[in-house]
Amino acid sequence: MKEPKIKSIPYSEFKDNEYLENMVAELNKDGVNVIVGKLDDLINWGRSNSLWSLTFGTSCCAIEFMALGAARYDMARFGFEVTRNSPRQADMIMVLGTITYKMAPVLKRLYDQMADPKYVIAIGGCTISGGPFKNSYHVVPGIDKIVPVDVYVPGCPPRPEAFYYGMMQLQRKIKLERFFGGVNRKEKEEDIQDESED
């Protein structure tokens, strides 16, 4: 299958996303086996529409997340209303709120406990860069120092619409992935890299 496409979300509705463009280019270059490719599509369609997130709200942004769950913004429409309290049952971790030095090992541990393939969304200025507390002696200046991040959603706190935009970017990314081999292999490579960095 040449030319993999992103299903169900019109391309024009999103701003450019270089990262995803590159991913498409890479996939196009290598080409994909037709049968596996179709299976990939099917599985990814399922995965992207039933993202279960680990609730990980530490502060203000988490309240906006609760608003997402309520009737007005109703995240069930997009298939990610199921939140899990155990990392073992979650597909992704939505980090909502400031991560402090004391919390950092906990976040890392929760991330490590999740099963592959797993994703991280960093919501709010605090998780992206430390936000208003960048200069503090006890705030991690961006969670990408601790765990790999897939989508960043800026804002303080981001509006519910921005949450959706971020979530849909993640869905888009998942739809592009090669589930057989690709996703899992990618994780392993990262692990190896991590170890060599340590």
Binding site: S59, A62, I63, A67, A70, V106, F133
Partner: protein
């Protein structure tokens, strides 16, 4: 008798600082006797509002803010020690229980040891943290990010002076080897944030709770020391985000008081109305969360449905849903939205007409009543001693509404009831909040049509310098007395900026309230106490 005379009679050597707050200064040696006398004699100062640690560059010490629950008279007492190597002060935790946890906070930030406090552990920072961050000579790079998991000690230190006059460290057991300890949090959906409770159990009953805070300690007080005053305002919204505007109100009032800014009538009206809208917003969320913690989902949607209406009204005017940055020094950021009044009136009409749904589905529910009534008792004495202000204190019969007893904004010109219950249980704590929603609407209705025309703020300079002194202002937020204290040396940023956390005493009270209750009720009790964690950790 004048409070000054009273202190001088008790302690003739006391001196007074009168720049801003009236503060009595005594030497550490005389301090304990004075506090005992203030606590136990005459008009008893039985409510310890706050302990603020202080480092003035040469000396370390603490300022104690006291209030009498009978006369509402207030006084502050300060004591400083020149010893920076091994600073020690006498503890007052046998006089006021809340000192147990507040002295731990001072120890954590300033390294002052309190003699006879049974539990001198760190509370916010990791136990292996080096140095004391709020000291002026703290090296900001001394503690890099440590990804090792933290190990918690099972022993607390108690420092006492033995009969030879030397300091001895008694090791007090927090948990025994035989205790069955369950760890709840920090990542737990029902602790309302990243609170961690180490709970020991006796069968199904709670034996002891040891709260571990600091998972969202953001170092706001230290950061504020290098900010200008208008910049510090941005931090208050992020403390207790459900009382964002009220918190900011306290800090604005404190700064305005210090530099003698008189804000326009219109701004006062606006602030009071917005504060009350925020209170409704917060109590609606309280309702939603409490019910969800107890396993009901429908009421969650009720609460959020109506909360969204409040947020819409606030968003029109302030531009933000949660964090609004609306109040500024000298007034408010922008004028009211033209439709503000009509929308507020429509909302009140709507909520009055629909609030019976809340009560039908939850208040009268058998399960809810079984789980709330006569559960989680907190007596009036304990409430005062623990300093659990706000609805939690008022449900125990303690008249502590700052709006009533130390009015600010327009509260002295509106007619409203202070909601007080005396059931002391979870159910009354819940009812206080529900009644306060009605009372807030009542206040808004009295003001909404009378907002005077005119300026909504006075012009202030971008860099504001406060005259040297110590200033404080407190407000009644959605969950208790919030106080902002500024120590200024006349410069453009504070020497020390301290906030009284409304939640810290509530978390401290968990141990008292939950002992002997079932572990299953712990979550419901926590829900009724209503704390917000970032406000505790600051």
């Amino acid at each position: 008798m004048d409070i000054k005379d009273r202190i001088l009679k008790l302690q003739p050597e006391a001196t007074f600082e009168e720049q801003g707050d009236l503060i009595a200064v005594v030497a550490p040696g005389k301090f304990r006797a004075l506090m005992e006398a203030l606590r136990n004699e005459g008009d008893k100062m039985d409510y310890l509002r706050e302990i603020m640690g202080l480092d003035n560059g040469t000396e370390l010490g603490a300022v104690y803010y006291l209030e009498s629950t009978a006369t509402y008279e207030q006084i502050a007492v300060k004591t400083m020690t020149p010893d920076r190597e091994n600073p020690m002060l006498p503890s007052v935790c046998d006089l006021w229980k809340t000192a147990e946890i507040k002295e731990r906070e001072v120890y954590d930030f300033f390294g002052i040891r309190f003699l006879n406090n049974p539990d001198m552990r760190r509370i916010f920072l990791r136990e292996d943290w080096k140095g004391y961050p709020l000291r002026k000579d703290y090296d900001m790079n001394s503690n890099p990010l440590n990804m090792e998991n933290e190990v918690n000690a099972d022993e607390g230190d108690e420092f006492v002076i033995d009969s030879y006059g030397s300091v001895e460290d008694l090791k007090n057991k927090i948990f025994d080897r035989n205790d069955f300890v369950v760890n709840i949090g920090p990542q737990h959906p029902s602790t309302h944030g990243v609170l961690r409770l180490r709970t020991s159990l006796e069968g199904e009953m709670v034996k002891k709770i040891d709260p571990v805070c600091g998972y969202i300690h953001r170092g706001i007080e230290k950061m504020a020391e290098s900010m200008t005053y208008p910049q510090t305002l941005a931090m208050t919204d992020r403390l207790d985000y459900l009382s964002a505007n009220q918190n900011r109100h306290a800090l604005c009032m404190c700064i305005e008081k210090a530099c003698g800014i008189e804000i326009p009538e219109r701004a006062k009206y606006i602030r009071t109305i917005i504060d009350e809208l925020q209170r409704i917003d917060s109590h609606l969320l309280y309702y939603s969360c409490l019910v969800m913690d107890m396993g009901g989902l429908t009421p969650f949607f009720y609460g959020f449905r109506d909360r969204e209406m409040v947020l819409d009204i606030l968003e029109d005017t302030t531009g933000g849903r949660l964090i609004q940055n609306y109040y500024v020094i000298g007034g408010v950021q922008a004028d009211l939205h033209p439709e503000f009044q009509t929308k507020v009136k429509a909302f009140i009409k709507h909520l009055r007409g629909i609030i019976h749904e809340y009560h039908e589905i939850f208040t009268g529910n058998v399960i809810a009543r079984e789980r709330l009534i006569k559960v989680g008792m907190l007596s009036r004495e304990d409430a005062i001693s623990l300093g659990t202000t706000g609805g939690t204190g008022r449900a125990s019969g303690w008249h502590n509404d700052v709006r009533k007893h130390h009015p600010y904004g327009m509260y002295d010109q509106v007619d409203f009831k202070e909601i007080v219950y005396d059931g002391c249980d979870s159910f009354d704590r819940y009812m206080v909040r529900m009644d306060e929603i009605m009372e807030s609407m009542n206040i808004i209705e009295q003001l909404i049509d009378r907002i005077p025309e005119g300026d909504y703020k006075v012009k202030t300079k971008p860099i504001i310098k406060l005259p040297a002194g110590t200033y404080s202002a407190s407000v009644e937020t959605s969950r208790g007395e919030f106080m902002a204290i500024i120590v200024s040396d006349g410069g453009k940023s504070p020497v020390r900026l301290h906030f009284r956390s409304t939640g810290l005493p509530l978390v401290h009270a968990l141990d008292t309230v939950c002992r002997g209750n079932k572990i299953a009720d712990l979550i419901a009790i926590g829900g009724t106490l209503d704390y917000v964690i970032p406000d505790i950790d600051r």
